[in-house]
Each structure stands twice: as C-alpha cells, then as structure tokens.
Amino acid sequence: MKIEILGVGCPKCKLLTANAEAAVKELNITADISKITDITKITEYGVMMTPALAIDGIVVSAGKVLSKDEIKKIISK
C-alpha cells in the first residue's frame, strides 16, 4: 500500500503524517508512507486544499487532518 501526504509542510501536514504512521502501525500492515510537498505535484492530484491524503494514488481526503482512527477506517475498507 502506498500512502501519500500532500502538503507543503505546515504543522497540519505533519500531524496528518503522524496520524497516518500511527494508523499503519496499529493495523500492523506494510505501507510506504511518503510526503509530497511540491505544489505543482499536489495540484496535479486536483488537490486545492491541504493537507490531503492519497492511498494508492487516489485522494481520499483534502483540507482536513484525519484522525488516526479515521485513517484506519479508510485503510481497512
């Protein structure tokens, strides 16, 4: 599974990254978590509000910091 955090690096992006890492750890799954900070790349995803979360290339959330549990729910779908 590929998890991408889209955001230019503000505290909200960092918090979303931490929540995603915690969710992956609790689910005990293997996931490649990476950050996309380049605005051009972020907008190529159609994202206009950050932080955003993409799983396997599909944006599942934008403009909000998902909690660890919310991310776990999305990953488990």
């Binding site: 955001g7 995803y45 159609g46 994202v47 509000m49 950050t50 932080p51 599942v60 934008a62």
Partner: protein, 136 residues
C-alpha cells in the same frame, strides 16, 4: 513558509460558475472571478467536479459553503454539484434579470450581477481578507 504560501487555510466559501459558452455563461465566469478576486470566495473548477477528480471532490468537501452561479435555467453548475452529492446555494443569472442571448458582458453587467449575488454579504473566506470591493 508563510501562511500565504500554505494551502491549508479553511476552505470557506467556494464558488462554481457554469462558465458556459453563451453570453450569460461568460458572465457567470466573470462574476465568479470577480467575487474570488474580492476575497469573498474561492473559485473552483466545475469541470473537475464533473470529471469526478478525487482531489477536487475531496477539496470541495472541505468547504463551509458551496455557491453555484448558472447563466441560464439549464442550471448545469447546480446540477453537476448536486450530482456529486454537494448541497449548493445556487444563483441563476436568468432570475437576476440577465437573458441568454441578450446580455452584454461588460463592467456594468458584471458589477450588477456581483452586487445582486453578494448583496453586501459580509461572509468571506478566512484565507483572504475582503476589501468589500464586491459590495461597492
């Protein structure tokens, strides 16, 4: 990184003009851009919603309110947004006195339509401060 550079401010109001090919479609686009430039809303791409681009859909979900501006009664912007599951505050330029095929798109018609839509409302996006230019 300054707050200005960050894209994480509250989404606030998003405006989606139909941007259709007719005179009133053009007027809707110009009105949307004017409202956005004034800082009263952010303009978004209706095509991205119609194309179900996940990033666009999810970004729009973060909005406090979504406004559609349609040029004619076909109401493509309103229907596109509703089809995507959004609740919309809709405006139709026909209801505001602008007839398809009979509307000149110029400073006067833009100003008139903007004034009718904003009605001097004080709501603004949090990311950009309004200088009340829309209400003037």
């Amino acid at each position: 990184m300054s707050a200005k550079d960050c894209m994480c401010q509250e989404a606030g109001l998003l405006v989606f003009p139909c941007s259709g090919s007719s005179d009133v479609g053009e007027l809707s686009d110009r009105v949307g851009r004017t409202i956005a430039k004034c800082g009263q809303a952010k303009m978004f791409c209706l095509a991205g919603i119609g194309a179900h681009i996940p990033g666009m859909i999810e970004s729009a979900k973060a909005a406090r309110k979504i406004i559609s501006i349609d040029g004619c009664p076909v109401s493509c912007a309103k229907k596109t947004l509703e089809h995507a599951g959004f609740q919309v505050e809709s405006y139709n330029l026909k209801d505001l006195g602008f007839e398809k095929g009979k509307t000149k798109v110029d400073g006067n018609s833009i100003k008139s339509a903007v004034s009718k839509i904003t009605g001097g409302k004080s709501e603004t996006t949090s990311s950009r401060s309004s200088n009340d230019c829309c209400a003037k």
